[in-house]
Amino acid sequence: MAVKEGLRYTKDHEWIKVEGDTGTIGITDYAQEQLGEIVFVELPQVGKQFAAHKEISVVESSKAAGDVYCPVAGKVTEVNAELESKPELVNEDCYGAGWICKLKIADKKALDELMDAKKYEEYLKAL
């Protein structure tokens, strides 16, 4: 299961990449692998505020629907509209072209509560 350096991770298998005040959000390799072939991604509305751990997106495969929770509080600034017609990008490149949305992070201190790549890898091993 691929884990990418430089990202922060949640226990629910979301990742966030931080650049300045902006966080890019997606689901991890482990999560996409669990879901199987992803056929639909419900994207959040641009401009909407989300509290941490609130559901921000739903990713559906032919077998299951998985909730995506917001790793930290913030406001959605951009969504990956390409997923509307190519949801399989989440399977193919979950840390790259399969990103879900970008967020203006309300408080960057909240990022400290998330795991780094090494911790997340340990967390996966214990599952």
Binding site: G36, V39, S62, K63, A65
Partner: protein, 432 residues
């Protein structure tokens, strides 16, 4: 409490068991990640190896091999085995020829479906009965209760109850590790390349001819690569060509690998439970708990299998209820085709089915994506089940956030809603 109630309903409390490996577990973990293996009916079974879509396609275009060793396999033997099965199951058994199989039901005296089964006649007094994995403990218990005179046989006429204990019949679990010989578990090889694959496992021309010549629901007992196989032209995929192979559990890993090695050059793939489900849905075949029994208590008539319930038979357990249902049922299972290109939200179980005016006329029981379409089996008003009828679907809320936005979590019949997706009723049992 467990057993029959006075109204004839048979109650069984299934015990939660720690799921164990199927006899092919070691082969599965060689071919797929552990994260693709899931507990199903008490066994750890593969959901998929490559992908559900790829395995589905392999069965339609070439062939696929399924681990069905979790299915229950019972032997019913004795001078009165046929008479016993004629009482306990809905289809005709006494009139079957040796080497033939028949689909039918085991009901309780109130007419509830306890399982759908296939009966194989191996001899004048010897039958093999294949039951669903999830129902196996219940069926074994029920049959024991019937033989021991504890279960209600008929709520109206007790004459038949008296016949059962006098019958010369014994029931054995053919997968039981303690059984000394003739143990059997099920592997399924389904799809057009199945015959060519099996032919590569034997040098005997006549055996190939006998396998090739099998009619639907007929079987032969042959040796393939030195392994005793009961080879039957049955399956759960809708494939015109497809076999179930009943073999000794100890030989299962070897035959599994032999088939995949021989079939590899033909494009034969191992297939998991995911493709098993999408194939049977596309083919319109019912799954117990979804299109049979389940929360709507769906009868064989509503499921589209009235032909497997022989009301002309003198008696079978549940007959009075079946006669009543056959005359009055108002809903049935329809197969609906929806668009299914990527980016369309998948239709799921319990989603509401709407008529052209937007009124709820039923609910989705099972659904699968197949190539650029989705197929649902849905429980709908009978006048909505005709091929060509236009229907809509309303997606139930998939998450708490959607509930907050006003999406319903449950829809009653007659509720008026706006359809999220439009589809059409297609032929119930397509052939592939």
């Amino acid at each position: 409490m467990q057993g029959s109630t006075t109204t004839g309903t048979f109650v069984f409390e299934s015990r939660a068991v720690e799921p164990g490996p199927s006899v092919l577990y070691d082969e599965h973990v060689k071919r797929t990640g552990k994260s693709h293996i899931s507990a199903f009916a008490g066994y750890l079974m593969p959901l998929w190896y490559s992908s559900i879509a790829e395995e589905h396609r392999a069965v339609r275009e070439r062939a696929g091999l399924f681990d069905c060793t979790h299915m229950g396999v019972l032997e019913v033997a004795g001078d009165d085995a046929a008479a016993f099965l004629d009482i306990v199951t809905t289809n005709r058994v006494s009139s079957m020829s040796i080497g033939r199989a028949r689909y039918g039901y085991i009901l309780d005296a109130a007419g509830n479906v306890l399982d759908d089964i296939i009966v194989y006649r191996r001899g004048e007094h010897n039958f093999m009965v294949v039951v669903n994995a999830a129902n196996e403990p219940k069926i074994k218990f029920y049959i024991r209760e019937l033989i021991d005179e504890h279960a209600v046989v008929d709520t109206e006429d007790s004459a038949w109850a008296e016949k059962l204990p006098g019958l010369d019949v014994a029931v054995w679990d053919m997968r039981d590790p303690n059984r000394p010989e003739d143990r059997r578990v099920d592997l399924a090889l389904q799809g057009p390349a199945s015959i060519e694959t099996l032919a590569r496992l034997t040098d005997e021309r006549l055996a190939v001819d006998r396998i090739t010549g099998l009619k639907s629901f007929a079987f032969v007992e042959e040796r393939l690569a030195g392994i005793d196989c009961l080879i039957c032209r049955t399956g759960y995929t809708g494939s015109t060509v497809g076999f179930e192979l009943f073999i000794d559990p100890d030989a299962a890993p070897r035959l599994w690998n032999l088939i995949l090695d021989a079939g590899g050059p033909l494009g034969v793939l191992p297939c998991g439970l995911g493709a098993r489900d999408s194939l049977r849905i596309e083919a319109g075949l019912p799954l117990y708990g979804h299109e049979l029994d389940g929360r709507f208590n769906i009868s064989p008539f509503e499921a589209g299998y009235g032909w497997a319930v022989k009301l002309e038979k003198d008696f079978f357990i549940g007959k009075a209820a079946m006669r009543r249902i056959a005359a009055t049922y108002s809903m049935e299972v329809a197969r609906i085709e929806w668009p299914g290109t990527k980016g369309i939200r998948p239709v799921r179980q319990d989603d509401a089915v709407l008529n052209e005016r937007g009124e709820c006329v039923g609910w989705v029981l099972s659904s699968a994506k197949v190539e650029e379409k989705q197929y649902s089996l849905a429980y709908v008003d009978r006048n909505m089940a005709r091929e060509g009828t236009r229907l809509g679907v309303y997606y139930l809320a998939r998450s708490p956030a959607q509930v907050q936005q006003g999406r319903k979590e449950r829809v009653e019949k007659g509720t008026r809603l706006k359809a999220d997706l439009a589809g059409v009723v297609s032929a119930r049992f397509p052939k592939f």
